[in-house]
Symmetry: C2
Subunit: 245 residues, 2 copies
């Protein structure tokens, strides 16, 4: 049955969408069936990967009871299906906290992984994802302001743990790591010190190729398959496989 | 009477907080009295500049009618006062769209500039800021995904213009510009092509010094006064002065 991952961090621009797309692509490339769900009203994940319009939106699934399949589209990549984002997700307010789990119940055998890209927030759609997932992957940009943001994330997770029996596991992924820059090493050391083995072994380097790839509507594996960023996301996918739920 | 600027862009991590803090500091350094308001529930602006706790919060001002002065603190920098952010701003839903303008009425003669740092969203507190300000400063990171985010911002601004007689002016500021990188030039050309003279002449370079400065609780003028980032924010402050409302 599928493992559900939420990619979340209320700090903006830390690499949530980039991680959601490239982790999903790496897992699909390793012969798994993956469903990528775009909870961000900006819908950048969807624009990157989408092939054709869906007949229903995520909001139809959550609010009107439409089935998951009607809001799912192909991406042109084997094994990778997508539920595109929708502007109405920006105003989604949490209702029934089990709505996503019950909607996904019918497809849990069809996928090995469900990955949810969240907007930079801890409310609404993101809260639903935190209440639904088995594990939260938190991209942590190797910069000072991103470090400060972790405090409010940890407080929010305490709230989530009070709302559901067993809280999700946490996994912190260092992103945009520039080894020439002292600040990056300092932040990495701080994160390792705080979170110990909850920090992924893979570290995503700062890479212009990653920033370029959305412009070509490509994953990093299609844009720069032999580069360090593709290798890092590949290594992270192997870690996710190994630690499965 | 004070000019009111909102620093907004729902795309995360594009340099809103960095621009709010350093523009406010540059204007205060040029002998203006500046009030910096932190509408972001993460409160990173406040942590950077704050000297002592306020007796009231922004939420008390907006929801309970507390006076602005009770929620304002010194920052240790001449001419620069701060209204710290508050976690409750994360759930703020727009009520009376004139509430901020009427609360500010009593201090509009005390300041030359009021600058509002917004969270990565277009709802709630950000919408209030867009309805209150004379001008919106939109930091645009020189990367592809930030470009896509401008489409939803422009749509949101059409909604704002329908809600108030005269919409705010728009000003786009290119940030994290790395001249060694083709992608940055491409994005800059695209933004200039779309927005013409609404694009600020000043361009903020990508600079490790800027990313480091929050860790020392310093503005860029205190951390690296002779560097390119300080010069760029100084030039932008001069542009804001010249174009004033
Ligand atoms: N490792 C990396 N190296 C260089 N650039 C990166 C890297 N990861 C992401 N980027 C770029 O940084 C910017 C922010 O990344 P992304 O949009 O994935 O973050 P996000 O957390 O999803 O943002 P938001 O908070 O707006 O949802 C994008 O322009 C992206 O292309
Ligand atoms: N010109 C620059 N060069 C290098 N780093 C920068 C620059 N401007 C900002 N930064 C760094 O980039 C990160 C994002 O900037 P910042 O937090 O100001 O963006 P933001 O738009 O306020 O983010 P959020 O959407 O979370 O509110 C921070 O770590 C900041 O220190
Ligand atoms: Mg994103
Ligand atoms: Mg900010």
């Amino acid at each position: 049955t599928a493992s559900i991952y939420a990619i979340a961090n209320q700090k903006g621009g830390v690499g949530k969408t980039t991680t959601a797309v490239n982790l999903a692509a790496a897992l699909a490339g390793r012969e798994h069936r993956v469903l990528l769900i775009d909870f961000d009203a900006q819908g950048s994940t969807s624009r990157l990967l989408r092939e054709e319009p869906a007949s229903a939106t995520i909001a139809d699934v959550l609010l009107e009871g439409a089935v998951i399949e009607s809001a799912t589209v192909t991406t042109g990549r084997r094994g990778l299906m997508l539920m595109p984002g929708d502007r109405s997700m920006g105003e989604y307010a949490l209702g029934d906290q089990n709505v996503l789990r019950s909607r996904l119940a019918g497809v849990m055998e069809a996928y090995a992984y469900v990955i949810i890209d969240c907007p930079p927030s801890l409310e609404g759609a993101t809260l639903l994802a935190l209440l639904t997932c088995d594990e939260v992957i938190v991209p942590v940009q190797c910069e000072y302001l991103a470090l400060e943001g972790l405090v409010s994330l940890m407080e929010a997770m305490e709230g989530v743990r009070r709302m559901r029996d067993e809280g999700p596991r946490m996994r912190y992924l260092l992103t945009m790591f520039d080894r020439r820059n002292n600040l990056a090493w300092e932040v990495a050391r701080e994160v390792q010190g705080h979170f110990g083995d909850q920090v992924a072994e893979a570290v995503i380097p700062r890479s212009v190729r990653l920033a370029e790839s959305p412009g070509f509507r490509r994953t990093i594996f299609e844009h720069d398959p032999k580069g360090p960023a593709a290798a890092a996301y590949q290594a992270f996918a192997v870690e996710v496989e190994r630690r499965g739920v």
